[in-house]
Symmetry: C2
Subunit: 152 residues, 2 copies
């Protein structure tokens, strides 16, 4: 087996691009779904709401890390979402540096609207994979992520 055919059988070279393309397509699809419901939320804002709905109140830093967003950018997103009335900044009891970001009632009911969009996009994305493949895809991505983070 020569180098060419090896390169062909393991097209490792485009993983970075491919991930970008898939992600961009998901973002596009999600924002389109949101738009059809008359909601003007960015994908980032959708992720923030989702995180809070799924995992409950947490600090701005935890939130930022979990959606891979810079701390400064998070402050500004929180400004917007608070202004729209979807969440609240509370002070942490013990550590007064830290915020406790929590959804308001409006935020909760927003999330109930968003679950639909979420479901539809993810179904569309994964409809070409059977259940076992979906799980494997997720597993592979997790493993790649850990491999990159724990660079021994």
């Amino acid at each position: 087996m020569n180098t060419e055919s090896l390169a062909f059988s393991t097209p490792r070279e485009s993983l970075g691009i491919l991930l970008g393309l898939v992600r961009a397509e998901i973002v596009r699809a999600m924002e389109a779904e949101l738009a059809t419901k008359g909601l003007s939320l960015s994908f980032t804002q959708f992720l923030i709401i989702k995180r809070l709905a799924r995992l409950g109140p947490m600090s701005a830093t935890e939130l930022a890390r979990s959606v891979e967003l810079d701390g400064g950018a998070m402050t500004r997103q929180l400004d917007q979402l608070e202004r729209k009335g979807y969440l609240r900044r509370c002070r942490h009891e013990q550590d007064r540096r830290t915020l406790r970001i929590e959804l308001t009632d409006a935020g909760d009911s927003l999330w109930r609207q968003l679950t639909d969009c979420n479901e539809r996009v993810l179904s569309a994305a994964q409809r070409s994979l059977d259940e076992a493949e979906q799980i494997r895809l997720h597993d592979y991505l997790e493993r790649v992520l850990h491999a990159l983070r724990d660079k021994n």
Copy 2:
């Protein structure tokens, strides 16, 4: 099987986030690699050089599409890369609207330096997957991409 355990066994809900995390990690790793070689190239610029090196001269629009970049953004990236001497804008013979972007000699030798970085990052990323799994990951991602694009 209740809803909870189903949700747990098919964690479809975080595919968007997960893709973002993996991609961000690859970008970080690549820019770190570039930095260790004293090269100040963004990931986007790396992709542009790579595309040209792999596929040969093409128009700005083709290039933009292949790295999922807006046309306007591409113009400015080309400005920078041309200023650094890595590529040339030539006019297309038949269609004088169209550019033919080609690497200069400096661009070619830059790419020879970059292949190392590319290899190291992709190896790091995929070292936790065996050969068959790497191929499957690629295949799954392609299928997800097509499922999203051809929304019948």
